[in-house]
Protein backbone atom coordinates (compact mmCIF):
# COMPACT_ATOMS: atom_id res chain seq x y z
CA UNK A 1 0.00 0.00 0.00
CA UNK A 2 1.41 3.35 -1.09
CA UNK A 3 0.42 6.96 -0.54
CA UNK A 4 0.67 9.10 -3.67
CA UNK A 5 0.65 12.87 -3.83
CA UNK A 6 -1.98 14.17 -6.25
CA UNK A 7 -2.07 17.93 -5.66
CA UNK A 8 1.08 19.03 -3.84
CA UNK A 9 0.94 18.62 -0.08
CA UNK A 10 -2.85 18.93 0.12
CA UNK A 11 -4.42 15.93 -1.57
CA UNK A 12 -3.13 12.37 -1.57
CA UNK A 13 -4.49 8.99 -2.62
CA UNK A 14 -3.77 5.44 -1.62
CA UNK A 15 -2.44 3.16 -4.31
CA UNK A 16 -3.58 -0.31 -3.35
CA UNK A 17 -1.57 -3.41 -4.16
CA UNK A 18 -2.62 -5.07 -7.41
CA UNK A 19 -4.27 -1.92 -8.73
CA UNK A 20 -2.97 -0.26 -11.87
CA UNK A 21 -3.78 3.24 -10.64
CA UNK A 22 -4.08 5.15 -7.41
CA UNK A 23 -7.61 5.43 -6.02
CA UNK A 24 -8.46 8.89 -7.41
CA UNK A 25 -7.11 8.04 -10.87
CA UNK A 26 -9.04 4.75 -10.80
CA UNK A 27 -12.32 6.41 -9.81
CA UNK A 28 -12.08 9.15 -12.41
CA UNK A 29 -11.17 6.60 -15.06
CA UNK A 30 -14.25 4.47 -14.23
CA UNK A 31 -16.60 7.43 -13.97
CA UNK A 32 -15.58 8.72 -17.40
CA UNK A 33 -15.93 5.30 -18.99
CA UNK A 34 -19.34 4.86 -20.68
CA UNK A 35 -18.93 1.07 -20.93
CA UNK A 36 -18.21 0.84 -17.18
CA UNK A 37 -21.18 3.07 -16.28
CA UNK A 38 -23.52 1.20 -18.63
CA UNK A 39 -22.56 -2.17 -17.11
CA UNK A 40 -22.81 -0.71 -13.60
CA UNK A 41 -26.34 0.57 -14.33
CA UNK A 42 -27.34 -2.82 -15.77
CA UNK A 43 -25.94 -4.67 -12.73
CA UNK A 44 -27.70 -2.33 -10.30
CA UNK A 45 -30.90 -1.85 -12.26
CA UNK A 46 -32.99 -2.48 -9.11
CA UNK A 47 -31.35 0.56 -7.48
CA UNK A 48 -31.94 3.01 -10.35
CA UNK A 49 -33.73 5.95 -8.75
CA UNK A 50 -37.45 6.20 -9.43
CA UNK A 51 -38.22 8.20 -12.56
CA UNK A 52 -34.85 7.61 -14.22
CA UNK A 53 -34.22 5.23 -17.11
CA UNK A 54 -30.93 3.35 -17.44
CA UNK A 55 -29.79 5.76 -20.17
CA UNK A 56 -30.77 8.78 -18.09
CA UNK A 57 -28.82 7.40 -15.14
CA UNK A 58 -25.69 6.88 -17.28
CA UNK A 59 -26.03 10.42 -18.64
CA UNK A 60 -26.51 11.77 -15.11
CA UNK A 61 -23.38 9.95 -13.92
CA UNK A 62 -21.39 11.33 -16.86
CA UNK A 63 -22.63 14.81 -15.99
CA UNK A 64 -21.75 14.30 -12.30
CA UNK A 65 -18.29 13.15 -13.32
CA UNK A 66 -17.85 16.26 -15.44
CA UNK A 67 -18.92 18.42 -12.48
CA UNK A 68 -16.51 16.55 -10.24
CA UNK A 69 -13.65 17.43 -12.61
CA UNK A 70 -14.64 21.09 -12.22
CA UNK A 71 -14.73 20.89 -8.42
CA UNK A 72 -11.35 19.13 -8.20
CA UNK A 73 -9.79 21.56 -10.64
CA UNK A 74 -11.19 24.60 -8.84
CA UNK A 75 -9.75 23.59 -5.47
CA UNK A 76 -6.46 22.31 -6.90
CA UNK A 77 -5.84 25.49 -8.90
CA UNK A 78 -6.61 27.89 -6.08
CA UNK A 79 -4.37 27.68 -3.03
CA UNK A 80 -6.85 29.84 -1.12
CA UNK A 81 -9.40 27.07 -1.52
CA UNK A 82 -9.49 24.34 1.06
CA UNK A 83 -10.19 20.64 0.42
CA UNK A 84 -12.54 20.70 3.38
CA UNK A 85 -14.89 22.62 1.05
CA UNK A 86 -15.35 19.30 -0.76
CA UNK A 87 -14.81 16.69 1.94
CA UNK A 88 -17.27 16.47 4.81
CA UNK A 89 -17.48 13.97 7.69
CA UNK A 90 -18.89 10.62 6.62
CA UNK A 91 -20.77 10.54 9.86
CA UNK A 92 -23.21 13.43 9.69
CA UNK A 93 -23.24 13.62 13.47
CA UNK A 94 -19.48 14.14 13.74
CA UNK A 95 -18.49 17.47 15.27
CA UNK A 96 -15.15 18.96 16.26
CA UNK A 97 -11.74 17.42 15.61
CA UNK A 98 -11.79 13.66 15.22
CA UNK A 99 -8.46 11.92 14.78
CA UNK A 100 -8.16 10.52 11.23
CA UNK A 101 -11.76 11.43 10.55
CA UNK A 102 -13.59 9.43 7.86
CA UNK A 103 -14.68 11.82 5.14
CA UNK A 104 -16.77 11.84 1.97
CA UNK A 105 -16.79 14.15 -1.00
CA UNK A 106 -19.96 13.93 -3.04
CA UNK A 107 -21.39 14.97 -6.35
CA UNK A 108 -24.92 13.68 -6.62
CA UNK A 109 -24.54 9.86 -6.88
CA UNK A 110 -20.71 9.89 -6.83
CA UNK A 111 -18.81 9.49 -3.57
CA UNK A 112 -15.10 9.97 -2.95
CA UNK A 113 -13.96 8.64 0.41
CA UNK A 114 -10.99 10.05 2.27
CA UNK A 115 -9.29 10.31 5.63
CA UNK A 116 -8.63 13.74 7.02
CA UNK A 117 -5.04 14.32 8.08
CA UNK A 118 -5.47 17.99 8.93
CA UNK A 119 -7.78 20.84 7.94
CA UNK A 120 -6.44 21.00 4.39
CA UNK A 121 -4.81 17.61 3.93
CA UNK A 122 -6.78 14.52 2.89
CA UNK A 123 -5.92 11.01 1.69
CA UNK A 124 -8.39 9.40 -0.70
CA UNK A 125 -9.10 5.75 0.11
CA UNK A 126 -11.64 4.99 -2.62
CA UNK A 127 -15.11 5.85 -3.76
CA UNK A 128 -18.32 4.55 -5.21
CA UNK A 129 -21.56 5.23 -7.03
CA UNK A 130 -24.18 5.37 -4.32
CA UNK A 131 -27.74 4.81 -5.49
CA UNK A 132 -29.24 3.73 -2.17
CA UNK A 133 -29.32 4.94 1.41
CA UNK A 134 -27.01 2.72 3.49
CA UNK A 135 -23.42 1.86 2.51
CA UNK A 136 -23.53 -1.49 4.29
CA UNK A 137 -26.51 -2.62 2.20
CA UNK A 138 -24.64 -3.19 -1.07
CA UNK A 139 -21.43 -5.19 -1.59
CA UNK A 140 -19.72 -2.51 -3.70
CA UNK A 141 -20.28 0.23 -1.12
CA UNK A 142 -19.58 -2.04 1.86
CA UNK A 143 -16.24 -2.93 0.23
CA UNK A 144 -15.31 0.76 0.08
CA UNK A 145 -16.08 1.15 3.79
CA UNK A 146 -13.83 -1.82 4.55
CA UNK A 147 -11.07 -0.30 2.42
CA UNK A 148 -11.36 2.96 4.29
CA UNK A 149 -10.99 1.14 7.61
CA UNK A 150 -7.99 -0.78 6.29
CA UNK A 151 -6.32 2.47 5.21
CA UNK A 152 -7.14 4.09 8.54
CA UNK A 153 -5.69 1.12 10.43
CA UNK A 154 -2.56 1.35 8.28
CA UNK A 155 -2.11 5.01 9.13
CA UNK A 156 -2.68 4.31 12.80
CA UNK A 157 -0.26 1.39 12.72
CA UNK A 158 2.35 3.70 11.20
CA UNK A 159 1.77 6.09 14.07
CA UNK A 160 -0.08 8.74 12.10
CA UNK A 161 -2.30 10.93 14.13
CA UNK A 162 -1.38 14.42 13.01
CA UNK A 163 0.11 16.24 10.03
CA UNK A 164 3.75 16.04 11.14
CA UNK A 165 3.76 12.29 11.57
CA UNK A 166 1.93 11.85 8.24
CA UNK A 167 4.67 13.80 6.42
CA UNK A 168 7.29 11.67 8.18
CA UNK A 169 5.63 8.54 6.78
CA UNK A 170 5.63 10.03 3.26
CA UNK A 171 9.36 10.69 3.59
CA UNK A 172 10.08 7.17 4.77
CA UNK A 173 8.35 5.49 1.80
CA UNK A 174 10.74 3.72 -0.58
Amino acid sequence: MKIISIFEERLFAFHCEGEEMNELARLLSCWNDVDYLFKFAQQHSEDIPFGLTLVELVNQLLFDSQELDEILNKIAENTNKNWSEFFKPLNNLEYGNTELSRQKGRKNYLRVYAIKIDKNCFVITGGTIKLHHMNKDRPHTAKEMQKMEKCRDYLKFMGIADTDSFYELINEQP
Binding site: I4, S5, I6, F7, E8, E9, A13, N22, L24, A25, L28, N32, D33, V34, D35, Y36, F38, V55, V58, N59, L62, Q66, D69, E70, L72, N73, A76, D164, Y167, E168, I170, N171, Q173
Partner: protein
Protein backbone atom coordinates in the same frame (compact mmCIF):
# COMPACT_ATOMS: atom_id res chain seq x y z
CA UNK B 1 15.05 20.60 6.69
CA UNK B 2 11.55 20.44 8.08
CA UNK B 3 9.25 17.51 7.50
CA UNK B 4 7.20 19.54 5.08
CA UNK B 5 10.21 20.66 3.06
CA UNK B 6 11.41 17.07 2.81
CA UNK B 7 7.95 15.96 1.76
CA UNK B 8 7.65 18.55 -1.01
CA UNK B 9 10.99 17.48 -2.48
CA UNK B 10 9.96 13.85 -2.44
CA UNK B 11 6.34 14.07 -3.47
CA UNK B 12 6.52 16.53 -6.34
CA UNK B 13 5.60 14.80 -9.59
CA UNK B 14 4.33 11.69 -7.89
CA UNK B 15 1.11 11.76 -9.89
CA UNK B 16 0.81 14.71 -12.22
CA UNK B 17 -1.11 12.52 -14.64
CA UNK B 18 -4.43 12.68 -12.77
CA UNK B 19 -4.39 16.49 -12.77
CA UNK B 20 -3.38 16.51 -16.43
CA UNK B 21 -6.21 14.17 -17.37
CA UNK B 22 -8.70 16.42 -15.56
CA UNK B 23 -7.38 19.37 -17.57
CA UNK B 24 -7.54 17.41 -20.83
CA UNK B 25 -11.15 16.43 -20.22
CA UNK B 26 -12.08 20.02 -19.37
CA UNK B 27 -10.46 21.33 -22.55
CA UNK B 28 -12.00 18.65 -24.78
CA UNK B 29 -15.39 18.62 -23.09
CA UNK B 30 -17.51 19.07 -26.21
CA UNK B 31 -15.72 16.38 -28.16
CA UNK B 32 -15.81 14.09 -25.14
CA UNK B 33 -19.57 14.53 -24.77
CA UNK B 34 -20.10 13.58 -28.42
CA UNK B 35 -17.86 10.52 -28.08
CA UNK B 36 -19.71 9.48 -24.93
CA UNK B 37 -23.11 9.82 -26.60
CA UNK B 38 -21.93 7.71 -29.55
CA UNK B 39 -20.56 5.10 -27.14
CA UNK B 40 -23.88 5.00 -25.32
CA UNK B 41 -25.82 4.58 -28.60
CA UNK B 42 -23.49 1.74 -29.61
CA UNK B 43 -23.84 -0.03 -26.25
CA UNK B 44 -27.63 0.27 -26.33
CA UNK B 45 -27.80 -1.10 -29.85
CA UNK B 46 -25.44 -3.99 -29.05
CA UNK B 47 -27.63 -4.77 -26.06
CA UNK B 48 -30.77 -4.65 -28.21
CA UNK B 49 -29.23 -6.89 -30.89
CA UNK B 50 -27.64 -9.23 -28.35
CA UNK B 51 -24.27 -8.67 -30.01
CA UNK B 52 -20.97 -8.81 -28.18
CA UNK B 53 -18.30 -6.15 -28.70
CA UNK B 54 -16.25 -8.88 -30.36
CA UNK B 55 -19.00 -9.45 -32.93
CA UNK B 56 -19.11 -5.73 -33.70
CA UNK B 57 -15.31 -5.79 -34.11
CA UNK B 58 -15.67 -8.62 -36.65
CA UNK B 59 -18.42 -6.78 -38.55
CA UNK B 60 -16.35 -3.61 -38.63
CA UNK B 61 -13.14 -5.51 -39.41
CA UNK B 62 -11.26 -3.88 -36.56
CA UNK B 63 -9.63 -5.31 -33.44
CA UNK B 64 -11.74 -5.93 -30.29
CA UNK B 65 -9.39 -3.49 -28.52
CA UNK B 66 -10.54 -0.72 -30.87
CA UNK B 67 -14.19 -1.41 -30.03
CA UNK B 68 -13.32 -1.55 -26.34
CA UNK B 69 -11.78 1.95 -26.64
CA UNK B 70 -14.73 3.21 -28.67
CA UNK B 71 -17.36 2.17 -26.09
CA UNK B 72 -15.44 3.84 -23.28
CA UNK B 73 -16.41 7.10 -24.95
CA UNK B 74 -13.12 8.94 -24.91
CA UNK B 75 -11.93 8.31 -28.44
CA UNK B 76 -11.75 10.94 -31.15
CA UNK B 77 -13.61 8.89 -33.79
CA UNK B 78 -12.76 9.37 -37.44
CA UNK B 79 -15.51 10.15 -39.91
CA UNK B 80 -14.88 6.75 -41.49
CA UNK B 81 -15.51 4.97 -38.18
CA UNK B 82 -18.70 6.96 -37.59
CA UNK B 83 -20.04 6.11 -41.05
CA UNK B 84 -19.28 2.41 -40.58
CA UNK B 85 -20.93 2.35 -37.16
CA UNK B 86 -23.98 4.08 -38.58
CA UNK B 87 -24.24 1.61 -41.47
CA UNK B 88 -23.60 -1.58 -39.52
CA UNK B 89 -25.68 -0.78 -36.46
CA UNK B 90 -28.25 1.44 -38.19
CA UNK B 91 -28.01 4.08 -35.50
CA UNK B 92 -28.10 7.86 -36.07
CA UNK B 93 -24.65 9.37 -35.66
CA UNK B 94 -24.27 11.75 -38.56
CA UNK B 95 -26.81 14.03 -40.23
CA UNK B 96 -26.61 11.75 -43.30
CA UNK B 97 -28.57 9.13 -41.36
CA UNK B 98 -31.67 11.32 -41.47
CA UNK B 99 -30.96 12.68 -44.95
CA UNK B 100 -30.64 9.17 -46.39
CA UNK B 101 -33.81 8.08 -44.62
CA UNK B 102 -35.77 10.98 -46.09
CA UNK B 103 -34.45 10.15 -49.58
CA UNK B 104 -35.92 6.67 -49.29
CA UNK B 105 -39.41 8.10 -48.94
CA UNK B 106 -39.72 8.83 -52.65
CA UNK B 107 -42.87 10.24 -54.12
CA UNK B 108 -44.88 7.66 -56.12
CA UNK B 109 -44.14 7.82 -59.79
CA UNK B 110 -46.72 9.54 -61.92
CA UNK B 111 -48.76 7.16 -64.04
Amino acid sequence: MTNKEKFLTLSSGDDTNTGKKIQDRRHNREQLRESQQIALKVLLKLNELGWSQKKLAQKMQVSPQQISKLVRGNENLTLETQIRLQKILKIPILASFYENTSKVKKKPALS
